[in-house]
């Protein structure tokens, strides 16, 4: 078993089974899902969706389910002397070294789900556990949720959706709750920019820009100084290096405490200020490119630093206990992800780490309150790889089946091996840092996983030898590299490196040339694998087009690609399309175009049938008030009317791959992962 593999369990596959497990009927189970957050998952596939649930999650839900206590009756007067007598007895017992079991000691860790569907890994919780500051992802607005009343209020009164140019993120309330610091992420001239802002904690109040510097690409505000004069933030620069810094809440001046270079984990792992304001705890990779991370404590003035949690594996996302004497962090040091605590004294580790809660799964920690409630996001759902039969003319026949039940919701991007006996695909890492590469032998289900420091990978292709794979990766810096992975020993050999993002990269059938779509430049470029020299072979006409999702024809003579032709002056003229062009850039032909509104701006993922006669691609229709409908289409490579190819659902579909014999199709399918907000109450109970 892989060290990070969660405990496998049999799923409950219907409302009936879920109800039976709860010893209730299916109707009650449905009601509990709706009213009390019973953890039930849905897989939307083809024309209907099915539900399923995990026993462990139901157990956790049941354990943490709120039971409203009955009102306590008024204490009768005769009980007062009895109470006094009990207290006296207790004092006598303590004096004799016999301690009664306190209420605290009897507490155990319980997990409960707060809500689902609006998870935000950059949210924050106030130390008293009352206010949850987050992004409202329906609008991109700042939202403050009062957990005592479950009422939410938006602060910016922002109109439109988050994807329309701007959104707020990583909000953190000042100690007196009067101000909110947050990042404002906005689109200017086709370039995403971030600035750090502060605004009063009042709906409709005017924000103030604290830092707007083109060198700074992303902010994660994580704490205020105790006097409310400075904001602790992680700043990712445009070269993707990160810095821990204090930012003046008055004039926005930046004091860099520590540069983390490329050692910073993702933005959900923020730095945390100790309750006395003297220390900052943060996690970082042990070195650039490593998968191991460690926890550090830095004095708030930057004068000293100590590594407080070391060792291999992931150790991250530290939060201070209320007394400042412990750091609670997540780690997979025991083989699976759990919540741990390490004692701290004067900024140094004062003992070994203790496991608080095992097997917590894929989480993004949010915060630890003074009462010891540990808030986190739990990710459910996501993509999986499916297989279906395919007719020679590119039509899917019959039902699809899931390639693997391992790590459900974490698998994507299938590619057939040249002999058709294996499928390579990608599996999301539990720590959220990209994907591992997995090769699964279809005959016996054996899997080999490649965990490489060069991840995250973008997509892979097999070389014709069937023993090695082409692995494009997004580098830490703003560039990409393409490697050859030897399947036998896992050794990587760098083939080329280039600037920008990798987008889609494909190998020519003769294995000599790489084709890459340069999406923002609207170009297709080639790389000679022997020398790495880049050459532009095609540029989309017009000045503002995007080119993406390449697919090389089986004979190696043509490329299919998706495009968006933009017209900022008249959005009604904007079009999305499927094109075909010769590999030398000649003879570009639009096979299918549609107004962007109809496609909703979503890419069509395409592939060629093995005989090169058809191109399969994805469309999305999104009628008002109706669920999105994804559909696999086929169109003659020579041109013609597109027609349904027998696969549809609420998808979206991701990457199609046709088997070498042309009789099967593998594809990624599944909605975006759902983020659920959970809380572990009494997280520190194990230490008491």
């Amino acid at each position: 078993m892989n060290a990070n593999e969660p405990r496998l369990e049999t799923r409950l596959e219907s409302w009936k089974e879920i109800g039976a497990y709860l010893q209730r009927d299916a109707t009650t189970a449905r009601r509990w899902e709706k009213e009390e957050g019973l953890p039930v998952h849905r897989h939307s596939h083809k024309t209907r969706s099915t539900v399923y649930a995990y026993r462990s999650e139901i157990d956790a839900w049941r354990a943490g389910r709120k039971v409203v206590p009955e009102p306590a009756p008024a204490r009768p007067l005769w009980k007062v002397p009895a109470f006094a007598l009990t207290m006296l007895l207790c004092l006598i017992m303590v004096g004799n070294g016999v301690r009664p079991v306190s209420a605290q000691q009897s507490q155990t860790i319980t997990a409960r789900q707060l809500w689902t569907g609006s998870g935000d890994e950059e949210a924050s919780i106030t130390p008293d556990g009352r206010y949850f500051a987050t992004t409202d992802w329906t609008s991109g607005d700042l939202m403050i949720r009062d957990l005592s009343t479950n009422q939410s209020r938006r602060l910016l009164a922002k109109s439109g959706g988050w994807e329309q140019a701007a959104y707020a993120s990583s909000p953190v309330l000042s100690p007196d709750l009067r101000q909110v610091a947050f990042q404002w992420y906005h689109n200017t001239s086709n370039d995403l920019k971030a600035d750090l802002r502060v605004m009063p904690n009042e709906p409709g109040a005017k924000p103030r820009v604290l830092v707007a510097n083109p060198e700074f690409g992303y902010f994660r505000a994580s704490a205020w100084s105790r006097d409310g004069k400075s904001i602790l933030a992680t700043i990712w620069k445009t070269d993707r290096t990160a810095q821990l810094a204090w930012i003046s809440a008055t004039d926005g001046s930046v004091k860099v405490l520590k540069s983390l270079e490329w050692r910073s984990p993702n933005s959900s792992r923020s730095a945390q200020l100790s309750p006395d304001g003297r220390f900052i705890a943060y996690s970082a990779l042990e070195r650039s490119g490593s998968t191991n991370s460690r926890v550090y404590v830095l004095t708030a003035d930057g004068s000293k630093e100590e590594e407080v949690v070391s060792g291999s594996g992931v150790n991250e996302a530290p939060f201070w206990s209320a007394d400042g004497r412990r750091l609670v962090f997540t780690s997979n040091r025991s083989g699976s992800f759990g919540v741990w605590a390490v004692p701290i004294e004067k900024g140094r580790a004062a003992g070994v780490a203790t496991l608080l809660k095992a097997d917590i799964g894929r989480t993004d920690p949010i915060g630890l309150t003074r009462s010891g409630s540990y808030y986190y996001l739990h990710t459910q759902g996501g993509q999986d790889v499916f297989l279906a039969n395919l007719d020679p003319d590119g039509r899917v026949r019959g039902d699809s089946s899931r390639l693997t039940d391992n790590f459900v919701g974490s698998n994507r991007s299938p590619v057939w091996s040249p002999d058709g006996k294996s499928i390579a695909f990608q599996r999301a890492r539990l720590d959220g840092r990209g994907y591992d590469l997995v090769i699964r032998t279809l005959e016996n289900g054996a899997e080999r996983t490649y965990t490489e420091k060069v991840l995250p990978i973008v997509q892979v292709e097999w070389f014709a030898d069937g023993k090695s794979l082409l692995v494009p990766t997004r580098d830490d810096q703003n560039s990409f590299s393409v490697y050859r992975l030897n399947g036998a020993d896992g050794k990587l050999t760098k083939l080329i490196t280039g600037p920008g993002k990798p987008e889609s990269i494909f190998l020519s059938p003769d294995q000599k040339t790489l084709y890459r779509s340069d999406r923002p430049a609207g170009k297709i470029v080639t790389y000679d694998l022997s020398g790495g020299r880049e050459k532009t072979v095609f540029t989309l006409p017009g000045k503002d087009g995007l080119v993406f999702r390449l697919a090389v024809s089986p004979d190696g003579r043509s490329l299919a690609f998706n495009s968006i032709e933009r017209d900022p002056g008249n959005r009604a003229h904007e079009k999305a399309g499927l094109y075909r062009v010769g590999v030398d850039g000649a003879g570009a032909q639009a096979l299918y175009t549609t107004a962007i509104d109809e496609l909703n701006g979503v890419a069509g993922v395409q592939t060629w049938t093995k005989d090169g006669q058809y191109i399969l691609f994805n469309t999305l229709t999104s009628a008002q008030g109706q669920p999105q409908q994804w559909r696999l289409m086929r169109i003659r490579a020579a041109g013609g009317r597109p027609e349904p190819a027998g696969l549809e659902g609420t998808g979206p579909f991701h990457q199609f791959a046709i088997s070498p014999d042309g009789r099967h199709i593998a594809y990624g399918d599944g909605p975006a992962a759902v983020r659920e907000v959970w809380v572990l109450d009494n997280a520190l109970a194990a230490l008491k």
């Binding site: 290096t241 405490l257 270079e261 490329w262 650039s288 930057g302 810096q477 760098k494 600037p499 790495g532």
Partner: protein
Amino acid sequence: MKALLLLSLVLRPPRGLDLYMPVPDANPLTPQKIALGRRLFFDKRLSLDGTLACASCHDPKQAFSDGRKVAVGIGGAEGTRSAPAIVNRGYGRTFFWDGRAKTLEEQALEPILNPKELGMTEAEIERRTGLKIDDVTAALASYVRTIRAGDSRFDRYASGNPRALSDLEKAGLAVFRGKARCNTCHIGPNFSDEQFHNTGIAWRDGKLVDLGAGEGKFKVPTLREVAHTAPYMHDGSLATLEDVVDYYDRGGNANPGLDEDVRPLHLSAEEKLALVAFLRSLSGTIREGNS
């Protein structure tokens, strides 16, 4: 208390550097130790023949380097490697071109004791200075920690002043981070990943002439003040910044262990010009000692 206040003022770094600088618990910075270290750094009594001091090869006027291809010790003895510019070494994680020292304390005495450099013995150092050898080490390391270069025009640009760099320099920055990928190794406030790479410099005519940290790998040097630290590379074999850019543009000297990130860049003449202009913008202010 006064000393601590003075120290906090002294150690406020120039713009562009981190507030945090690792200092070992066993050798905390004090104004007295820094002052002593400074005196020792310039003291020619620390060379056997009394002709050289640390500052002879690490001249403040040349960004704490010496402008020579390779270092020259007592009696005109030539070394095999150039004297590195020792700015911002307080932020370093390994020392010397081959990284053989892990701390500044480990590093400090070695050139003084090297027969081809200052040629002293520990006993002679103690006799001439009247100090214990550990105190000499601690003082020199403390002083070197205070040598910090920053507040360059690039730092001002990075702090939010878009006019601090010219258009040409900004174009050079884009090349630095983009097509030339210099920031694969030259990253962070000190423009060094503190790692070791085989860039091919140690290979001549198909032969490895200096093992370095192994297989011809050498420490990535800082680019702070790089306009003032010619000649370049561990052996001073490249005279100008233009030569350095040309060297990397052609993909370095081929050899079996050449770092896979060193490969032809295909830079245009304009891109090279811009890149050199950007490198020159990394000159700023050097603070040292208790000043």
